[in-house]
């Protein structure tokens, strides 16, 4: 009993530690000024945040980049994970390491390298460069999460499908993919949130007219000191939760058939 109570206290403290910043941001976002506790309540910052063109455009860019980069990362990462797990090729650990290297290398370095080689040397426009950059940072998670899911998959099931007349690609789509869909979904959610909230890569690869939301928020904060940023943060958190929920509802329950 005593031990149970002690654990409960620890759990509550941990939750407080994790959630208190959000609580502060949430409360501040309704304040007149950037102060805690707030001196008076208002929703003007929300109105402003939503009506400001710069944030709306940046949101659209972030949304588009997040979706496209995550989808491309999955299109590359899922087959890679399949090959690594299914065929256990020689030097598999090096391959896995290569796919995970974007996690190990500081994102700032990747961002700078991409700027240097894609934009300066390769003369690639800002938007494709941004997409490539985000794809690079999402791929490790796409590979990792789907590989974990594939490791739990019994490949004799795939063989059974092939023996029943399905070529391997069909067996993959009809049998393997539906059974690892939770992993793919998790990878999608993780990848999208990662891309949507990314700063270090976007910092280098955004340019005039094309900016992601976090970068736009960052530059706004450099000039203004008011609760608008808090209101925007609340909106971003809400949006992320909604995306996660929606993805789980639609993809999690339906079959890929």
């Amino acid at each position: 009993m005593r031990r149970g109570r002690a654990l409960l206290v620890v759990a509550i403290l941990t939750y407080l530690f994790l959630l208190s910043p959000f609580v502060v941001i949430f409360v501040v976002s309704f304040g007149q000024t950037l102060a805690f506790p707030p001196s008076g309540l208002t929703i003007q910052w929300y109105e402003k945040a939503i009506s400001m063109r710069m944030f709306r455009d940046a949101f659209k860019v972030s949304l588009m980049v997040g979706l496209v980069a995550t989808l491309v990362a999955l299109l590359l990462g899922v087959p890679a994970a399949y090959a690594i797990v299914r065929y256990a090729p020689k030097g598999r650990q090096y391959m896995e390491f290569a796919f995970e290297s974007p996690i190990v290398v500081p994102a700032l370095v990747i961002g700078f390298a991409l700027l240097r080689f894609l934009v300066h040397v390769g003369d690639i426009p800002v938007l494709p460069a941004l997409l490539i950059g985000h794809t690079v940072i999402v791929i490790p998670y796409a590979v990792r999460v789907t590989a974990a899911s594939l490791r739990n998959f019994d490949f004799t099931v795939e063989e059974a499908a092939m023996s029943l007349g399905a070529p391997q690609w069909k067996a993959f789509l009809r049998v393997v993919l539906p059974n690892i869909r939770t992993g793919v979904l998790a990878a999608f959610i993780l990848g999208f949130t990662l891309s949507f909230n990314n700063v270090p890569i976007s910092l280098f690869l955004t340019g005039p007219g094309i900016t992601t939301l976090p970068i736009q928020m960052l530059s706004y904060m450099e000039y203004y000191y008011n609760p608008l940023i808090a209101a925007l943060s609340v909106l971003v958190i809400l949006f992320t939760v909604l995306v996660t929920q929606a993805a789980e509802r639609t993809l999690g329950l339906s079959k890929f058939m």
Binding site: M162, L164, G165, A166, P178
Partner: protein, 356 residues
């Protein structure tokens, strides 16, 4: 012409040395042949090579005389039932059975009819809309069988399909599987490590060890005439002792062992000669045990060390000059209570193999 034939298959994984060395087997139409052997003997590898999942390094696979060695698995039209059943977890029972038909682009209406017919045949009409996770092991087994048979395969391959079932269900399924296979007249290869399964279901059995077929024959002949020590051991010749050939007479030999002279018959290929080192095998249930004095024939004195009641039989462990011997008597046969006993084995039940 045989229905299915493998010629000298050499199969291995990666660069490792091969798992199968020259696997040659031929099946007649409608025949069920078992591949019997301990785990790691290459029987599953042989099955996968026949299915087309591993390309052999050497050798050919022929179906009705056509070389199918390079035909991919999905074009072979072979049905397979796995030990793990390998049902599609995300599909219902009916969808599982329909899978192969849909891959063959059979009309929807016909798919439904055939699925119903097969589910009826395995007694699962009422489970059509369940997911595999909601079925018992025996039911999953039946779905796997229906799924494999629904495509009307040229050949049915069964990879230890009964090993995950409990003993009672296994016995029923043995009979049922064999009945279905015979009714359909389908040619089948049955992989198992279970002797009773192989003996009771097969037209012929191929005993495998270390990637080589040791012997192929009908169950009774295999049971009575194992060609080497490995097959003898696998066929339940659990008792053995070393000896030396003292005399050769026709197909029989006299073996000196533990100070005794015993009459045995020759096993394996090649004649035995006087002076050859041999190992003699016999089955626990082909031994008579008695308290009485010496009778004619192969009589070995011994002392009962251990005795256990096993329901339909009684088992004795007897210490003899030849080492410990296990004896199994039917329940109801004369039992012995004394410590000192004589055991008698017929000459025909002692098989002598030259020591390798």
């Amino acid at each position: 012409m045989s229905f299915l034939e493998t010629r000298g298959l050499v199969v291995g994984y990666g660069r490792a040395s091969p798992v199968l060395h020259g696997f040659t087997l031929s099946l007649d139409e409608g025949e069920l042949v078992s591949l019997l052997g301990p785990s790691g003997c290459g029987k599953t590898t042989a099955l996968r090579a026949i299915l087309g999942f591993i390309r052999p390094r050497e050798g050919r696979v022929l179906l009705k005389g056509d070389d199918i060695t390079n035909i991919p698995p999905y074009k072979r039209n072979f049905g397979v039932v796995y030990q793990s059943y390998a049902l599609f977890p995300h599909l219902t029972v009916a969808e599982n059975v329909a899978f192969g038909l849909r891959m063959r682009k059979v009309r929807k209406q016909e798919v439904a009819e055939r699925v119903n017919r097969w589910l009826g045949l395995v007694g699962l009409e009422d489970f059509a809309n369940r997911l595999p996770a909601q079925l018992s092991g025996g039911q999953r087994q039946r779905v796997a069988l229906a799924r494999a048979l629904a495509v009307e395969p040229a050949l049915l391959l069964l990879d230890e399909p009964l090993s995950n079932l409990d003993a009672k269900l296994r016995a029923t399924m043995r009979v049922e599987l064999r009945r279905i296979q015979k009714d359909l007249g389908i040619t089948a290869i049955y992989v198992t490590h279970d002797l009773v399964e192989a003996l009771s279901m097969s037209d012929r059995i191929a005993v495998l060890n270390e990637g080589r077929i040791q012997q192929i024959d009908t169950p009774p002949r295999l049971y009575r005439n194992p060609v080497n020590e490995f097959v003898a051991h696998f066929m339940g010749y659990d008792n053995s002792f070393p000896g030396r050939v003292a005399r050769v007479e026709g197909g029989g030999v006299e073996v000196m062992a533990g100070g005794l002279r015993l009459q045995a018959r020759m096993g394996g290929e090649g004649e035995l000669r006087v002076g050859d080192e041999v190992r003699v095998y016999f089955r626990p249930e082909r031994v008579e045990i008695s308290e009485g004095g010496p009778e004619a024939g192969n009589v070995i004195p011994g002392e009962v060390r251990f005795q256990s009641f096993q329901g339909h039989s009684l088992q004795y462990v007897v210490e003899t000059p030849l080492g410990e011997i296990t004896v199994v008597c039917s329940e109801g046969e004369a039992t012995v209570n004394a410590r000192s006993v004589n055991i008698r084995i017929d000459q025909n039940d002692l098989i002598a193999f030259r020591k390798e």
